[in-house]
């Protein structure tokens, strides 16, 4: 299978913190990959470098043949990014927001209409799309933002903590949307989460990250087997312990 994303030794040094240290992994076409780790592990930092928002201190990431360091503007054509805890313009209606965002990806009116139509069907907000986003519940806003992130059929959709702060039902709905898009449309996803139990259900492969280091990557089943654990949380515990022994 073709690789959509190749991350090679991505490193980010903030003033004092080494937030990502030589992170390397890749994602194949149609695959859902999740970075999991506790708060402050470096998930958002890694994701922001791949999304061309942060300039890596060292290393590179290649998406569909383009480097984030050398050609960030080409990368931006191929990806969409949903920040963690993202909001939207509160005074805009949902439908206006979709049109505005679609207009950033293309100038072709027909394509814009097609994108918006796709997002409209996917988000399931119906008539509420004509209301201001400020009046939406957290779950509604997240569905709007998620459909925005996938309406343009990007080669890689990057979603930072897509289900955080949602109730179980909304979280399940979001996970189903992601799985369906990957299965039916061969879209690739890079997700992050600190909820290691939940992420098992949605991702094909996971990478466990702690203190800026990507410890292991692999399918949840493989990892559980390798570490003799019953769930990913236990896997994480053992991985971190092992690394401290060494």
């Amino acid at each position: 299978m073709a690789k959509i994303l190749e991350v090679k030794g991505l490193t980010k040094q903030y003033d004092k913190v080494l937030a990502a240290d030589k992170v390397s992994f890749d994602i194949e076409e149609g695959e859902i990959f999740a970075l999991i780790g506790p708060n402050g592990a470096g998930k958002t930092t890694t994701i922001r470098m791949i999304s061309t928002l942060l300039i890596p201190t060292d290393g590179d990431a290649v998406i569909a043949g383009n480097s984030v360091v050398k050609h960030p503007e080409k990368i931006r054509e191929d990806i969409t990014y949903l920040p963690d805890e993202a909001g939207a313009y509160k005074n805009m209606t949902g439908i206006k927001y979709l049109r505005f965002m679609a207009g950033l990806f293309t100038s072709d009116i027909e394509k814009i209409n097609a994108y918006v139509e796709r997002a409209k069907n996917m988000c399931g907000l119906g008539d509420r799309l004509n209301d201001k986003i400020g009046t939406y519940s957290r779950g509604m806003a997240r569905k709007l933002l998620l459909s925005r992130a996938v309406m343009t059929k990007p080669k890689l959709a990057i979603l930072d903590e897509p289900t955080s702060g949602l109730d179980v039902l909304n979280a399940i709905e979001i996970r189903k949307m992601i799985k369906k898009l990957a299965a039916e449309e061969k879209m690739s996803f890079l997700l992050s989460s600190h909820n290691m139990l939940e992420i098992e259900f949605v991702s094909d492969r996971v990478g466990i990250i702690a203190k800026g280091h990507l410890m292991v990557t692999g399918k949840p089943e493989e990892l559980k087997e390798r570490y003799g654990a019953s769930n990913l949380e236990e896997v994480f515990e053992r991985v971190v312990k092992n690394s401290e022994v060494h």
Partner: protein, 440 residues
């Protein structure tokens, strides 16, 4: 096309119902102020032509009676009051009056003995406002009485009125004012008064505009940061230059709308005032026309070309504000800081604004002059006066300096947007310490 999409979004974010409402309120306030002022002026004019004078005649002679009748004939509304204490405050309060003239016992005797008779004038001061005290002033009545007594003295001494005039005003001053190489036959105080009322408008409008526009742009950028819509924008396939340009252009359009509204409001306000005066004081009209002519002669009325130059300078000023606002907005990470982030702009605009209201910057001694001229906004407030008084070189230096400052600020703003600094830098105005603590 993508740019228009961005611009449309920025405009709809900035030109909100709130902003339109603010502009509406602004116009209404100006109109109300104009009405109020012209009302106040009407009553002042009314009182000036038919003054209400309270007189207490303690002398009560033929002479004082004729003086009072003379005042009545001249159109004054006289109320006679009896006073038996020299506690003037109590007297005014008791009689519910605001002014009082007392002709003391022995007034006539003094006149007859060729001594200077004494007249007591009491006026109540109710506020520091210029218009409020005019009607309480007795000086009109006093000078009328003065003239009458002059007449009597002239008869007594056998001098003609011309003789007396010659003695009191032996010289005639022919007042001339020179501006650069031009001269006009008018007093400098008349010109100054006229200029003060005329040229105060543009700096006020500019000042308010800077504040409004900066605040709205800072809010817009910091909101994008707080809601993380900025990250979405920056990861989308649009150039970052166009993101900044759309924001600045939208703010500039909003500023222009505000400027038009304020100028119209101000003109309505000024018109109400001048109408109030001109309708009723015929002579004043003649005089103010000649002041206008004098301004023309002296080159103090800006030509269209000069107004365009001032317009360009104001435009560059706004551009500096916009780019600085973008930078300040980018440094903000929470809603509270967004409120205070405008402070640096307020300070560097307020300072030269006040200074230029009070004094001529070019006439200061070297060090303060250089310091004040180093503040870019100083040149916005001195632009008009520099052009009026022929300091073209100073104007050009100011404009060039502002363009340079704008270029630097815009460069920094672009640099912020093009690097990842915009996401990693943050100045939490006044909150820095707290944040460090929570992180530890």
């Amino acid at each position: 096309m993508k740019f228009i999409n961005l611009l449309k979004k920025e405009l709809s974010e900035i030109i909100t119902v709130q902003m339109i409402a603010t502009m509406g309120v602004l116009i209404v306030v100006f109109m109300m102020m104009g009405n109020l002022m012209s009302g106040a002026i009407d009553s002042v004019v009314e009182d000036a032509t038919n003054p209400k004078i309270n007189i207490c005649d303690l002398d009560d002679t033929e002479l004082t009676d004729s003086l009072i009748n003379g005042l009545k004939d001249a159109g004054a509304e006289i109320t006679e009051i009896s006073v038996n204490s020299d506690n003037y405050a109590a007297v005014l309060k008791e009689n519910k009056i605001k002014n009082l003239i007392i002709i003391p016992d022995g007034f006539t005797e003094s006149v007859e003995n060729k001594e200077k008779p004494k007249l007591i004038s009491v006026s109540k001061m109710e506020s520091a406002a210029t218009l409020a005290n005019i009607t309480n002033d007795n000086s009109g009545a006093a000078s009328f009485i003065n003239n009458c007594v002059t007449n009597i003295v002239a008869q007594q001494t056998g001098m003609s009125m011309e003789d007396i005039d010659l003695i009191t005003n032996p010289i005639e001053v022919d007042e001339n004012t020179v501006v650069a190489d031009k001269t006009a036959n008018i007093s400098i105080s008349t010109i100054t008064a006229k200029l003060a009322s005329q040229s105060s408008m543009l700096p006020i409008v500019l000042f308010v505009l800077i504040m409004l526009t900066s605040q709205s742009l800072i809010t817009s950028v910091s909101n994008e940061k707080i809601d993380k819509t900025l990250e979405t924008l920056l990861s989308a396939p649009v150039s970052r230059v166009s993101i900044i340009t759309a924001k600045m252009l939208a703010a500039a359009i909003a500023a222009l709308l505000n400027a038009v509204v304020m100028m119209v409001g101000f003109l309505v306000f000024m018109k109400d005032i001048t109408n109030g005066v001109t309708e009723q004081l015929g002579e004043v009209v003649g005089e103010s026309l000649s002041v206008d002519k004098a301004l023309d002669v002296l080159g103090l009325n800006l030509s269209v070309g000069q107004y365009i130059l001032v317009g360009i300078q104001f435009f560059v000023t706004m551009m500096i504000c916009l780019s600085v606002s973008i930078i300040l907005g980018s440094l903000v990470n929470d809603a509270k800081s967004a409120q205070t982030a405008i402070l640096p702009i307020t300070i560097i605009v307020m300072f030269p604004y006040v200074i230029t209201l009070l004094t001529d910057v070019n006439a200061l001694s070297t060090v303060p002059r250089i310091l004040i001229n180093a503040i870019p906004f100083t040149h916005s407030f001195t632009a008009m006066s520099n052009l009026m008084f022929g300091n073209v070189k100073m104007f050009a230096i100011g404009l060039g300096y502002q363009i340079l400052v704008f270029a630097v600020c815009l460069f920094i703003a672009l640099k912020l947007f093009k690097s990842d600094k915009i996401l990693t830098l943050s100045l939490n105005f006044g909150k820095k310490k707290k944040k460090v603590q929570t992180e530890d």
